[in-house]
């Protein structure tokens, strides 16, 4: 019996060591494409199976040795209320009345880093190597290199990274790259009781999603689909949504996320045009000097000044 609940065991390919040569992207650096291409991985979050139990949140906290403060109830189940430097993932609950069926649907979305193929955080980061992307797709922060400028926050189309007030460094879900490195899935995926969160190679996750989507369509969710937004080159954290035609009902999941054009302009044209402009001004100065030579005061002019001053004195 093929289980739809859990993906098939992945077919392993070339074993590899894990290091700089596995990076396909490195913040503020140009690197040559990696010699080996790792199997792209993905975490699939099936929102239709999520019971919002928060096991993933607690597992994440424990695995990462984090604690998030005991807050207050604000009239909703969303505790903690938002992502923080000590909370890489959180459940966002939405009570949505389906206009067609008139039935209440309790939409529960696990929010966290989407591990974009084209990561805005990495694009914005000025610190070389502080944000890296491995060729399996995981986008990771290297806190030794992070300078805490918060550019990643501005670069992210999903509003994920958070800057710690304690050590002024950026934090977000690492997709448990340390677990994946030793052949395990992320802590959240392992814990998830209903296996609404599953982890595997991206291809397997897409296949797995197909099965789930068929099942959902058979249950009347005709717009069920996979959320793998092309605007950011696809993501390594994907959602199965029962209403894929309107992602925004899931606590404002972006409809068609992409890196903000402002950020593109800032990190694109501006960067180069800026340097060029400054260089140009300097160069013009040098050339001008060569051509016209120094602008010197002549003896005669000194004398004229003395005359003027003298007049002024002797009169």
């Amino acid at each position: 019996m093929v289980s739809f609940i859990l993906p098939p065991a992945p077919t392993t390919d070339v074993k590899t060591t894990y290091g700089q040569e596995d990076l396909i992207k490195r913040s503020a650096s140009n690197i040559s494409p990696p010699a080996r291409q790792l199997t792209p991985v993905a975490k699939l979050i099936d929102v239709s199976k999520c019971i919002g139990c928060k096991a993933c949140e607690v597992a994440c906290l424990e695995w990462n040795d984090m604690r998030t403060p005991v807050g207050v109830n604000t009239g909703v189940y969303d505790n903690p209320h938002d992502l923080t430097p000590d909370m890489f993932t959180t459940m966002r609950f939405t009570e949505w009345v389906n206009p067609e069926s008139k039935n209440l649907e309790w939409l529960i979305r696990k929010d966290g880093c989407m591990h974009c193929a084209d990561p805005g955080c990495l694009k914005a980061c000025p610190a070389p190597g502080a944000i890296v992307q491995y060729s399996n797709g995981i986008v990771d922060f290297d806190h030794d290199k992070c300078i805490g400028c918060g550019y990643c926050v501005k670069g992210c189309p999903f509003n994920i990274p958070r800057i710690s007030q304690v050590d002024n460094k950026a934090y977000k879900c690492t997709l448990c790259s340390d677990r994946v490195a030793v052949g395990q899935g992320p802590a959240c995926a392992k814990a998830c009781p209903t296996q609404a969160i599953v982890f595997g190679t991206k291809d397997e996750m897409k296949k797995h999603a197909e099965g789930r989507i068929k099942d959902l369509q058979s249950r009347g969710f005709k717009n069920a689909g996979l959320y793998d937004p092309p605007g950011v080159g696809g993501t390594h954290v994907m959602y199965v949504l029962h209403h894929n035609d309107q992602p925004q009902i899931y606590a404002n999941l972006p409809n068609n996320p992409r890196i903000s054009p402002v950020v593109e302009l800032w990190k694109g044209a501006t960067k180069y045009a800026g340097l060029a402009a400054m260089a140009a001004f300097a160069a013009i100065g040098v050339i001008h000097h060569l051509v016209t030579g120094p602008n010197k005061v002549s003896e005669e002019e000194e004398r004229k000044a003395e005359e003027l001053a003298g007049k002024g004195k002797t009169s």
């Binding site: 859990l6 074993k15 894990y18 991985v41 597992a59 790259s177 899935g185």
Partner: protein
């Protein structure tokens, strides 16, 4: 005789049960690899593993407790991580939020740590030794039992019951503890004996 299957055997055996937790090489390689990176080293390296059962609800999920130090080797053991047991047929490595937080219960700031007595009318605890506490308990029991034990009821029927002291048994102790408790409590003739089955 207790067959221990490795997680991977289990994978082959059952339907891809715990694939989610034991993906072979998602690109990355072995443990040394993790050390070689900027990411913090594999957290569970060189820790002792002990199999246990979640203490909370009666789904009874299998768990693996990772400890610094190994009780089986007679060492002091400090548990540092608790995860679901991927071999377990029911939970297959998964845990609910309570189970995922088990470690915090083991290491809770509000765990009891030594015997204490609160004297009548007092507003504070006094720390005492086990001997003092246990002798006191035995004495209180005996005095009450001797005073209020009912050997025969009004009709002269032998009833051998002790009604003035009651015992509320736990709900998460082992069957073995339960049996030891049963023996002791019943032998005294206590009838006010109950457990958490109802609430």
């Amino acid at each position: 005789m207790n067959m221990e299957l490795s997680r991977r055997q289990f994978l082959k055996g059952a339907s891809a049960g715990v694939a989610g937790t034991t993906l072979g090489a998602l690109g990355f390689g072995d443990i040394e690899a993790a050390y070689a990176t900027s990411i913090r080293p594999w957290k569970l390296a060189n820790l002792a593993e002990t199999r246990n059962t979640c203490t909370y609800c009666s789904v009874a999920c299998g768990i693996i407790m990772y400890s610094k130090g190994d009780l089986k080797k007679g060492e002091k053991a400090q548990i540092v991580q608790i995860e679901g047991d991927p071999d377990h047929p029911t939970n297959r490595g998964t845990l609910c939020p309570k189970g995922a937080g088990l470690l915090d219960m083991v290491t809770a700031k509000t765990r009891t740590l030594y015997p204490q007595i609160r004297k009548p009318g007092s507003d504070k605890w006094e720390r005492v030794s086990w001997d003092v506490a246990l002798d006191r308990v035995a004495r209180l029991m005996k005095d009450d039992r001797d005073k209020n034990f009912v050997a025969k009821n009004a009709d002269g029927v032998t009833v051998n019951r002790w009604l003035t002291t009651g015992f509320l048994a736990a709900s998460a102790t082992t069957n073995e503890t339960a049996w030891a408790t049963y023996k002791v409590v019943r032998s005294t003739g206590i009838l006010a004996f109950d457990n958490q089955a109802r609430v």
